[in-house]
Structure formats: C-alpha cells, structure tokens
C-alpha cells in the first residue's frame, strides 16, 4: 500500500494585525479533522497566532503590500505549519520570560511570542531566507496516539 499522502492547506494573510485569527481558525479546523485533542488544538492556535503576529509586525513590518503565507501540511501523525514572511528572519532565539525582571522594570513586559511558540508545539525552528526574504517559522505538533 502506498504511504498516505500529506494534505496541504494554504492561506495568505494581509500584513494587518488581527488577521492572524484567520490562520488560527484554519489551523484549528485542520487539527480537529486530524483528531487532535482540544487542549492541543488550543496550543496550536496560540502558537500559530504568535507566529503570524511576528511575521506581520517584524517580518513584513506591517506593510500591507506584503502578505504572510501560512502552509499547513497534514501528515499521518503530525501537522506542520510554516508561516512565511518577507523579512530577514529572526536573529534571536526564544528565551523564557523572567516575570520578576519584568515586574522590576529590568525586562520588557512584551516579547513573549517566540517563547510561547516554542513552549506550545513539539518542534519550532526559525529559518532565515537565503536572499533576505521568504523567511519562515516551521512548527510541528504530533498526534499522541496513546492519548488522542
């Protein structure tokens, strides 16, 4: 028997805050069709939203002439999501927020998006585009066959 073929769904978003919710809804629908548990769907929704917000704000710098690509690839037991923008890619790696430092004004209250992405999915990698464009973040969540 041939291995099951991955199913792909693509969405293009304008670089305007709020449209990350379109990607969230799409990712949620695909994950539910694949049989993910509700708590994992919620994790994915937040991770996808934060990835899209980063792409809109930092990658495309809110330039509405540019769009954010979201490609969902549903495999047999995992869902991969790529969020693609026209930026140069993230230079920093996710760091765990330090609430004490934030409370004492030693750390920006913002800047938790990358941490949330990494903490909520099974894999997250940030890839810089080769010519300073088409950078993306790749997220993967896996079906836990014991628990799903």
């Amino acid at each position: 028997m041939n291995p099951p073929k991955a199913i792909s769904v693509e969405v293009r978003l304008p670089s305007r805050l709020g449209f990350e919710k379109v990607a969230m809804s799409t990712a949620s629908a695909v994950a539910k069709l694949m049989g993910f548990r509700e708590d994992r769907v919620e994790d994915l929704k937040t991770a996808v939203a934060e990835a899209c917000i980063n792409a809109i704000e930092h990658g495309n710098r809110l330039n509405e002439k540019l769009s954010v690509g979201v490609v969902l690839s549903a495999g047999e037991d995992e869902l991969e999501v790529k969020v693609i923008d026209d930026g140069k890619g993230m230079k920093s790696q996710p760091t765990k927020p330090d609430i004490d430092r934030k409370m004492h004004g030693e750390e920006d209250p913002r800047g938790m998006g990358m941490f949330l992405i990494q903490a909520l999915v099974d894999e997250a990698e940030w890839v810089a585009g080769t010519n300073g464009k088409s950078s993306y973040v790749r997220l993967v969540i896996r079906l836990d066959k014991e628990a799903e």
């Binding site: 805050l17 709020g18 919620e42 330090d98 209250p109 913002r110 938790m112 998006g113 949330l116």
Partner: protein, 119 residues
Amino acid sequence: MQSETKSRVDQHTSPAGHNVTVLRFEGDIASTSKDAVLGAYQALPKATNKLVLLDFTKVDYINSSGIALVIQMLIEASNSGQKVYAFGLSPHFVKVFTMVGITKYAQLFPSEADAMAAL
C-alpha cells in the same frame, strides 16, 4: 479585524468584608486593548481600590501583546500596593498565564464565587 475590547467596573464586598473592584473584560485582549485594559485600571482610584479582580469570562482570545498589558497592570498595581486576582480564564490560558509567570503575582480562581470567597 480584532474585536473591540470592552471593560466594565463593578464594586463588591467580599464575605470577609473587603471592598473588591471587579474589572470585567469582553472581546479580544491584544495590542489594540490598551485603553480597555490599562486605561480602565488606571481610572480606578488607587487608594480605595486595593483588591482588583479581573474577569476574563467573556474573553476568547489573548495574545502575547495582551498578556504584556496584564503584566503592565501588575507592575502598576504592585507599585501602588494593590493586589490583583483573576478568574474566568479557559484551561489553556490558565496554562499560558502560568508559563509566563503571571500566577506568581496574580492568583487565579476558577470562578467569581471562588475568588470572592477567598478575598
């Protein structure tokens, strides 16, 4: 595209006899929610609103910018000698608030009744 954030203030007295200011939010909590979240909090007189209870029951979507607004509120509350509590978060956002450390500075309760009973 983001749904407008609404906020409303209610004053209650807890069973223990303390004045509790309930700040109720509705809609998304995101970067556009500054006035509804921080503005509503900052409009409360600090001297007479020592216990502030945040109601997230009607909030469906909170992103990292919205969480940052909550942290900014906690910073101001801490500097003013106020204590902040919250209820009505979904299990997912209880997890997210715990992951980013908010629960160290704002105790979370499952419901308004649970919160009022403890205050």
